[in-house]
């Protein structure tokens, strides 16, 4: 519900509780206390000055690929669509 954005970690501060992140050329210092494993180059999700999570690049690729497959489907049938991650069975 709350505004949050993926931004790239540019550098960690000493002590490792804060980081400078970059979003399209804009840089801002944020807290990474909630994502202690974040490292330079990682994309974190920033909310009210705190990273609250991280982007999984492979999953992002998968999701985008899914969108891409739609093109292939356009003229075809809908049945063959790969099922996305399902965490509970039906």
């Amino acid at each position: 519900m709350c505004l949050a954005l993926p931004a790239r970690v540019v550098s960690l501060t000493e002590g490792g509780t804060d980081a400078v992140v970059d979003l399209g050329g804009v840089r801002k210092r944020i807290s990474i206390a909630l994502v202690p494993h974040a490292r330079e180059g990682d994309y974190v999700i920033v909310h009210v000055g705190h990273a609250i999570g991280m982007i999984d690049p492979e999953e992002a690729e998968r999701t985008l690929a899914l969108f891409g497959e739609l093109a292939a489907l356009d003229a075809a049938d809908a049945a063959a669509v790969a099922a996305p991650t399902s965490t509970t069975g039906a």
Binding site: M1, C2, L3, L5, A7, L23, G24, G25, V26, R27, K28, R29, V46, H47, V48
Partner: protein
């Protein structure tokens, strides 16, 4: 022989001195402030008359245009400008948006006790430089000092006087269905540059304010339409409230709607990014060196070409059309392919967390 020593005034200490209540009391200290800071910065023969006002040659023909703006920005110095040049551009542009050539400015200062004289001098010099660049003379002014805690450093109200050639009428009520909506460049830089300096937001960006005088650009647009100046229906600078609010004002005054193409509205990538970060919409962010032009469709290409040929309009774009709409909605076809209203700014354009 007289033993009276010659008039001597110890020069203002512009290095470490501060404005105090005496500088606003109207006595010798007030005069000194004016003579050592404002006169050299603005110097021109009208101001040197030293009257409580200025007597000026009357323009030959056309309509007299006056516009005024109060400037209360914080911080006073920001990337790309300061309250001094801003207070010149803000009013010069309002005069220019009336299709007029700005000639004269007046300046009224409300200083807060304790304001550093060095900052005041820097601001005055910036005003003077901006006025010279825009070709206007700051011909008269007034300075008051308020106690600490009753002001915010410096407030500057400027009033501009100019003259519009016969046949030119660019007021907000002139938009007609079918007209083309143009903007002279990328939007949102000024507001983002200012916000980037607010202590509590503090982000780093290369964005600088677009603050600039637009009278040259307006003159170029009019010059591009010899004999058809009347086809330039509306000019307006999208300052406070941004492009969205300005277009809504025009729609309301003209009794029309608009349909914008989101994909055609020029926004710098860094401005887009900063707006994402702050939860802002660049369409509502202030500009100080851009104009919106609404013109008849058959001159739109000529106007756009004239804009792009001028240094202040290189990023100009056609962004939409005027529609017939009794509800006077400004609508937008989104980049995504959807559609939505682009409403007036509601409340303040504040960073949003949710």
């Amino acid at each position: 022989m007289s033993t009276i020593k010659k008039d001597y005034v110890r020069p203002l200490n512009v290095k470490t001195g501060r404005v105090d209540m005496n500088h606003g009391a109207g006595g010798r200290a007030s005069t000194q402030l004016i003579e050592e800071i404002f006169l050299p910065a603005f110097d021109n023969p009208f101001l040197r008359q030293g009257h409580d006002g200025a007597a000026l040659p009357l323009p030959a023909a056309g309509r007299l245009v006056v516009a005024t703006d109060a400037h209360v920005i914080s911080p006073l110095f920001f990337p790309g400008g300061d309250i001094g040049c801003l207070s010149v551009h803000g009013t010069v542009n309002d005069v220019a948006m009336n299709g007029a050539m700005p000639l004269y400015l007046t300046a009224s200062f409300i200083l807060e006790e304790g304001f550093p004289l060095a900052d005041l001098k820097r601001i005055a010099d910036s005003m003077g430089a901006a006025a010279r660049e825009a070709g206007v003379a700051i011909v008269t002014g007034d300075t008051k000092v308020v106690e600490q805690g009753k002001g915010d450093g410096v407030f500057i109200s400027t009033t501009g006087v100019g003259v519009a050639a016969p046949g030119v009428d660019t007021c907000g009520a002139n938009a007609r269905p079918g007209d083309v909506v143009l903007v002279s460049g990328t939007v949102g830089e000024h507001g983002v540059a200012v916000l980037s300096q607010r202590e509590s937001l503090a982000f780093e960006t290369a964005i600088v304010s677009d603050t600039a005088a637009l009278n040259g650009l307006v003159a170029a647009l009019l010059a591009a339409l010899p004999g058809r100046e009347g086809d330039l229906h509306v000019l307006r600078d999208p300052t406070r409230g941004g492009l969205a609010t300005t277009l809504n004002e025009i729609a309301r005054q003209s009794g029309v709607g608009m349909l914008l193409q989101e994909a055609d509205i020029p926004v710098l990538p860094q401005v887009d990014a900063a707006c994402e970060l702050l939860g802002l919409d660049p369409l509502y962010v202030a500009n100080e060196g851009k104009l919106v032009c609404i013109c008849a469709p058959d001159v739109a290409d000529a106007v756009l070409a004239a804009m792009r040929a001028h240094p202040r309009g290189v990023g100009a774009a056609r962004i939409g059309t005027v529609t017939e709409d009794p509800h006077r909605f400004v609508q937008m076809a989104t980049r995504l392919g959807g559609r939505r209203v682009v409403d007036w700014l509601s409340g303040e354009q504040l960073p949003r967390i949710c």
